[in-house]
Amino acid sequence: MRVSVITFPGSNCDRDTQRAFSERGHTSNLVWHKDRDLQNPDLVVLPGGFSYGDYLRCGSLARFSPIVNEVVAFAESGGLVLGICNGFQILTECDLLPGSLLMNSGLTFICQHQYIRVESANTPFTRNIPVGRVLDIPIAHKEGNFFIDPERLKSLQDNDQIIFRYCDRDGAATSEANPNGSLDNIAGICNIQRNVLGMMPHPERASTEGVVSRDGREIFAAIEDHFDSSR
């Protein structure tokens, strides 16, 4: 699989993400935000970090980087796009995903292990993962509080676009298990075509040797599974 990880000024999870894929045997490239060539990827990843210093609103200025036009065109032609943390924020700002990520309800930056529940296996990113499966994937953000108007929340629910919810160890999506105040405990959503996924937790921080949780591997394995089956 060919993976292109976009580096914006202020990205800081780009190398971790690149490494997570290259260790799994993929051709994993960093693509600079001013480039206009995505390098023929099978998957584009918008990594975590603080693109443009989070100025104005998180992700709002990254939308104007030249490469983002290519990412949007790639997504609109059916290409797989994964946005992690700041990448999720960027995807909402360029309207590839609905909703917004607001400041955490507790006002603090949260960096911790977090349980999330897989809500749908009907995406290339969760293919063959049992629905209800609880994954331990770290979060690290201050603006992860997912917000959307009631009408479009219902549309997300009705169209099976909520892919991950914050939960406790046993898989209960309670308000106590919600770290940041996200509506409906939402940790990740996909678009209606199901080829674009945004998630606040960092699967690349739960995949390499020597870290506490390697549950992120299940998401990468699902993507590989999808890729192998579509060839």
Partner: protein, 85 residues
């Protein structure tokens, strides 16, 4: 020269945790009559242009395209001549 003074406010139905924290602090300071605080953004943009209509058209577009997130924020603005009181 004209200057746009732009307010970006969270929509009324969007929770404002910052505002809530400020309210709590004000209560601790003894301002017990404070019932709500909303934190907004204020932005000034100066234009090398004296045509108010042309500037207003640009400001409207700037706010809608970049400064405000239509999902969560409303914007209002005034346009004033610079250097006047």
């Amino acid at each position: 020269m004209l200057q746009a003074k732009i307010f970006i406010r969270l929509k009324p139905n969007v929770l404002d945790p910052q505002g809530k924290a400020v309210s709590n602090s004000l209560h601790q300071l003894g301002y017990v009559k404070v019932v709500e605080t909303r934190v907004s953004k204020y932005i000034e943009i100066s234009f090398d242009d004296d045509n108010e209509q042309a500037v207003e058209e640009q400001v409207q577009k700037i706010c809608a395209d970049l400064l405000a997130n239509p999902n969560t924020e409303n914007f209002t603005y005034t346009i004033e001549k610079m250097g006047t009181v």
